[in-house]
């Protein structure tokens, strides 16, 4: 049965590789299509095109990530699943708690004078700072998740 589990994980790895290859092929095809349209003299709005391309890439990547995660969680055994669930709850909540402190501090008048760098270097527009906040929260939660996961297995070594 452990062989079944290993096969399940191999299948997840194979589908992940195939997904990346399909994604790469789609990007190349899209690039060729846009280049072809541009060469034909079709007016291409670069900013609008970049936005929609980024939206497409984001949706495909995140959908793929969820699909990989589902396959992964189905392939691992119950203790490994329990470690991930525990890590998500305690690590994720811990990361959010730290982010909550930053959130409250940001509401103070003193913080209004700060000029912190944004996630996208050089940009200081609202969207860049929204992305910065999301990235900080994700990083803190991921850090908490990793620590909690390692702690779970360390306690059961």
């Amino acid at each position: 049965m452990f062989a079944c589990m290993a096969r399940g994980l191999k299948r997840v790895a194979l589908y992940t590789l195939l997904g990346f290859l399909a994604f790469f092929a789609l990007m190349v095809a899209t690039g060729f299509f846009i280049g072809y349209q541009s060469a034909r003299g079709v007016d291409v709005d670069a900013d609008r095109l970049t936005f929609w391309l980024a939206a497409g890439v984001a949706v495909v990547c995140m959908t793929g990530a969820i699909a990989i995660t589902v396959g992964w969680m189905r392939a691992i055994d119950e203790a490994a699943r329990e470690a991930h669930k525990s890590a998500w709850f305690w690590g994720g909540c811990g990361g959010m708690a730290v982010a909550g402190v930053l959130f409250i501090l940001a509401s103070t008048p003193l913080a209004a004078a700060l000029q912190p760098p944004s996630w996208f270097l050089g940009r200081t527009d609202p969207a860049a700072y929204m992305a910065t906040g999301a990235a900080i929260l994700a990083l803190l939660m991921t850090a908490g998740y990793t620590l909690a996961w390692a702690w779970w297995w360390w306690r059961r070594r």
Binding site: M1, F2, M5, D77, E78, A79, A80, E82, W153, R157
Partner: protein
């Protein structure tokens, strides 16, 4: 919860990897079970009982005595 997994495995001269393969779990999970730091689900407990050919209650013991 205490268990006799390590003793039962030693009696059969099985490695943790062998038991893990028989149960369909990782070796780390078998180690966590043997040290009593991870309590298995009911389906896994039944699988363990089947692999060793013994009833569940002879493998797992509650730490608290019954009232």
């Amino acid at each position: 919860m205490n268990n006799r997994l390590k003793v039962l495995r030693a009696e059969r001269n099985w490695s943790q990897a062998h038991l893990a393969e028989a149960l369909g779990v990782s070796r780390q999970t078998v180690n966590a079970l043997e040290t009593g730091r991870y309590d298995p689900s009911l389906p896994l407990a039944f699988r363990i009982a089947r692999v060793f050919g013994q009833p569940i209650e002879s493998i797992f013991h509650d730490e608290d005595p019954a009232p």
